[in-house]
Symmetry: C2
Subunit: 71 residues, 2 copies
């Protein structure tokens, strides 16, 4: 329960940042050597990503990882 909420919120936050930058899931994915489906699952809160995974996503979005957690 709590885990689902955490992952959902994280996914929403990442989507929010991505859309704010005006890039697609595919663009983000390819910029960090991943697939569109991986980003989809991340944003949907379907996976419990590792810290390095998030680190890569943060790089792809050009933000600091902290951005994923405050607010």
């Amino acid at each position: 329960m709590e885990k689902e909420v955490l992952l959902k919120n994280l996914g929403d936050r990442i989507r929010e940042i991505r859309e704010g930058k005006g890039i697609t899931q595919k663009q983000l994915a390819h910029s960090i050597g991943k697939d569109q489906q991986s980003i989809q699952r991340l944003e949907a809160g379907k996976i419990n990503p590792s810290i390095f995974y998030l680190h890569e996503v943060a790089k792809g979005l050009d933000v600091n990882m902290e951005f994923f957690f405050n607010q």
Copy 2:
């Protein structure tokens, strides 16, 4: 390479916070339903922990997860 550094830094940071609170690996582990060995691997940078795992550790240390990333 880069991954190793990230995980090492994270582990060091967690250890720093834990020691600052004056608790042992075992106490931290048990407070969140884990084993001493799990915390040891985390602090040693030997694993690439999931975000939920870190969330639990943050709870056990009574800090916000952001603390793991700034400085």
